[in-house]
Symmetry: C2
């Protein structure tokens, strides 16, 4: 079971999710409308809903399983509140964050910056930031294998902090125990072959791994 | 005089620059084609040009003032090489980086990550990362004023590192000497009035200021 968290970034094309029966869909603010318009169930609609029309608000109330409405003037962002609620829906289900890129650059970065917040450190391994041609996962120090999401995907390692002793194996461009004093983007690495997971390890810092294709 | 650095991120709409006579235009890889197709002069076309067709390559050679072509297999990215060349065109002109968002998320982050590189620290104050509804500037510790680019703009302060003693004044939500141990995004602040610059200061770290509108 996957929890799909659909945010409200402006979009022109219909939403397409990797949805399977039994998954849960959470619509954040205008994301609830995107879900409904694309024909997905809305298990939870959450936000201050200051971006929806009166008509859309009626639609959300009528067609969502559950609605949580907050004051617009609050300390947490809609996305932070939605993620806290999503975590309450399950103790272990992966949370796929959709429709987070597009429109305002400050919103985009503030969503990526969730991964720095102390309160989300324990659940980082459950988060996948998705877009049609990209996926981003965040890792704490350790040793990992990465399965290829899609045969055409490139593989990029993005330090979100300084990184100590980064080793990359089972990829086209390997690396042994490299230290980076400032955040560093190592882009366009490649899987060796289909079905052959990449391996990496590091000793301190926070690392994003992005799979993406043109 | 402004140096416009136009990158090659995928785009569907024509390129529109804040171009004035006397400005210089640098097309990076497919960015050269975007410049030519939109009717701007190309003072310098630079890249490995592995993304352009033979016909487009002929067009670039014929219609650009100067062309620098590199091997595809090199240590620096096209954008890094282009920025180094742009810096040689003038010792002081602002450099507006256009068409850097869109398509691959790893490319987008690697371009933003230029601001962490030691070799670009001395010229950070000359860089403006532009998109149709966003501008991003990066600041080293100090005291600054920010002029509003557009009357509808929100103002966001994005720590690119931990930040010490951040003070925000002449804005809707003020702040006094706040410390952040991890990168933090403070979004959707507002200018007080048109023509009234915002003020901020901080003592250590690297801070991005984004102006954006919906």
């Amino acid at each position: 079971m996957i929890i799909h968290l659909v945010l409200g970034a402006p979009r022109e094309e219909p939403l397409i999710l990797d949805y399977q029966s039994g998954d849960l869909c959470v619509g954040v603010d205008y994301g609830a409308i995107y879900l409904l318009n694309a024909g997905y169930p809305v298990d939870l609609a959450i936000g201050d809903f200051d971006s929806v029309t009166k008509h859309e608000w009626q639609q959300i109330k009528k067609e969502s399983q559950r609605v949580e409405k907050f004051q617009a003037d609050k300390d947490d962002t809609d996305t932070e509140l939605a993620l806290l609620h999503a975590l309450n829906l399950s103790d272990e289900a992966p949370i796929h964050i959709h429709n987070w890129i597009g429109g305002r650059l400050d919103h985009f970065l503030s969503i990526l910056y969730l991964v720095y917040q102390e309160r989300f450190q324990a659940v980082l391994s459950r988060l996948v930031f998705c877009s049609p041609k990209n996926s981003l996962r965040v890792y704490q120090p350790g040793h990992y294998q990465v399965e290829q999401d899609h045969p055409d995907n490139y593989l990029s390692y993005i330090g979100l902090t300084p990184i100590k002793s980064l080793t990359l194996r089972q990829v086209k461009y390997t690396l042994e125990s490299a230290d980076y004093d400032v955040p560093r983007a190592l882009v366009s690495n490649e899987f060796l072959a289909e079905g052959q997971p990449a391996e990496f390890s590091f000793e301190s810092g926070l690392l994003a791994v992005i799979q993406s294709r043109d």
